[in-house]
């Protein structure tokens, strides 16, 4: 306890949290979704996850070695990026593509911009979008039990019925980590209890997206279709994105009001991508697009310093 007391200039209250511990907590929170992913999609999923994590960590170490920087792989951020990327990949993806995505995420998106804390968009999602644009066919080839099948969202888009209870548990086609809403919610609960993330971004995201879906339903003559809403909430990458990707410290706003604005932007963009776009899914593009808006959002939502509230009256 004495180590926490320093005689020095402020800040006086220190926390034991370190980057490494936070990253480890997020990885722990992702374990349920990972286990469900492996049990639903088989050992190939485990192979993809391990290979992606190792290549992300190796890419970071090699790049920092070559550029004579301090090697920071022990903080776990590269491993987390690898894990998140792997959870965003379909199980049928060839391994070399996953390696390429991890290397792109770490080197181009993270290290070229200055490493941890400087990346302007979520590296894992940027890696996924890189793969999505580069290998559209392979990235959209979803299999379950070895059979190619459409994702629930694609089925919804083409007007077919979906089984919401299956989507909630996770036994549907999709990327490795996104299918099981319950496992992701369990992980999110762990992060909330540990105070790693706050409710504001995910709640604003999910609430604004729900409102978008309801308005969409009303305007397209569906009426209040709760099943449709539930399917959209459990389907695709929304849960994974809202709880684990949108709350990334580096690429989300630091101001309290800014986080709400960020969440609302995410909800609207996801809705636009899902309902007006060509593809059934839109969470990844919505998040990396809103990552780019973060500096503007922060600039517009700087809280007033204590005692300076009459500045507006001048």
């Amino acid at each position: 306890m004495n180590e926490l007391l320093h005689i020095s200039s402020n800040p006086h209250i220190r926390d034991k949290a370190t980057t490494g511990k936070i990253m480890l907590d997020v990885i722990i929170a992702l374990i349920p979704a990972t286990i469900v992913g492996i049990s639903v999609f088989g050992l190939k999923a485990l192979l993809l996850i391990i290979v992606t994590m190792i290549s992300a960590v190796t890419a970071e170490a090699v790049f920092q070695k070559i550029t004579h920087q301090k090697i920071t792989i022990s903080d776990g951020s590269a491993a987390l990026t690898g894990l998140l990327l792997a959870l965003n990949l379909p199980v049928s993806l060839p391994v070399w593509m996953a390696v390429l995505g991890a290397v792109f995420a770490i080197i181009v998106v993270k290290q070229f911009f200055g490493g941890l804390g400087q990346n302007f968009m979520n590296p894992a999602l940027a890696g996924r979008c890189f793969l999505l644009i580069s290998f559209g066919t392979a990235m959209n080839n979803f299999t379950i039990d070895g059979i190619s099948s459409a994702t629930p969202l694609a089925n919804l888009k083409s007007g077919m019925a979906v089984d919401i209870s299956k989507m909630f548990i996770g036994t549907t086609a999709g990327t490795i980590g996104e299918t099981s809403a319950i496992a992701l919610l369990a992980g999110a609960l762990y992060l909330l209890v540990k105070k790693i993330i706050h409710l504001n971004i995910p709640l604003a995201y999910i609430a604004s997206f729900s409102i978008f879906v309801i308005i969409y339903c009303l305007f397209t003559g569906r009426g209040l279709d709760w099943e449709f809403l539930a399917a959209h909430l459990c389907g695709g990458g929304l849960m994974l994105g809202a709880w684990f990707m949108a709350t990334d410290y580096v690429t989300s706003p630091i101001t309290p009001r800014g986080r709400i604005v960020f969440g609302i932007c995410l909800g609207i963009m996801t809705g636009l991508f899902r309902f007006c776009g060509k593809s059934a899914e839109g969470v990844s593009y919505a998040i990396i697009f809103c990552n780019l808006l973060v500096p503007i959002i922060e600039k517009l939502t700087i809280p007033k310093a204590f005692g300076r509230e009459d500045e507006d009256n001048e």
């Binding site: 060839p94 181009v108 890189f130 644009i133 580069s134 290998f135 559209g136 392979a138």
Partner: protein, 226 residues
């Protein structure tokens, strides 16, 4: 004649419009999806640049300074129109691939830049060689960019495919790929051309008196006691 060779060197290496001046980015990023397109765009620009530099240099004492820009544009636009007619007649496939970017050569900042900064102040022959040098520099830049994008994005070179379809990284065929490859090429040539990133040679203590100093250091100020 020495002057002319110096102009070629300047255009191709020292002030390469693509990698050093970073001029004419619009066609550079837009049409370099393949080696043929890149080289075709570069050579088309080279032809226009040579002709416009020559004519502008000939007319440099006739054109009044106040209206030089419209005059340059008229000259450049005439040549671009001629070149486009020739492409439409003899290379229709290239003309289709380059599309709107052929007429846009009129406002390419390399051409106006060379007209303004070189051809309008210098004799005809060096101006011609300045045009050739800059044009070739542009062609080399675009060809490299096109070749890399074609290999990575569609697994072929000059239309000959040698990588199977499933290994194509298609993002390199789109606009983001152009930025990736351009940035990579600029980084590589900066690494070669400049001393950045190399370790500074350790020298014994410097007393600041460079005139008395016999060490050949990288930073001679030539002034004492600074």
């Amino acid at each position: 004649m020495n002057k002319c060779i110096e102009r070629l060197y300047n255009g191709i290496i020292k002030e390469n419009p693509t990698f050093v001046l970073i001029l004419g980015m619009c066609p550079t990023l837009a049409v370099t999806t393949s080696l043929i397109n890149g080289a075709g765009m570069g050579l088309t620009t080279t032809v226009v640049l040579m002709l416009s530099n020559t004519i502008i240099s000939m007319l440099r004492k006739v054109i009044p300074a106040e209206v030089r820009m419209p005059a340059f544009i008229v000259i450049v636009a005439s040549f671009v129109t001629m070149v486009q007619f020739l492409l439409q007649a003899y290379l229709p496939s290239l003309n289709n691939a380059l599309g709107i970017y052929i007429p846009l050569i009129v406002v390419n900042c390399i051409i106006l830049g060379r007209a303004e900064s070189y051809a309008s102040k210098n004799p005809v022959l060096p101006s011609l060689f300045d045009g050739i040098g800059m044009g070739l520099g542009f062609t080399i830049g675009l060809s490299f960019l096109g070749a890399f994008r074609e290999i990575l994005g569609s697994g072929s070179i000059a239309g000959v495919q040698f990588i199977a379809e499933e290994y194509h990284i298609r993002i390199f065929g789109y606009a983001p790929g152009a930025f990736f490859v351009l940035a990579g090429l600029i980084a590589i040539q900066n690494k070669i051309r400049l001393n950045h990133g190399k370790k500074v040679k350790e020298l014994p203590s410097c007393n600041g008196k460079c005139t008395e100093c016999e060490q050949k250091c990288d930073n001679p100020t030539g002034k004492e006691g600074e």
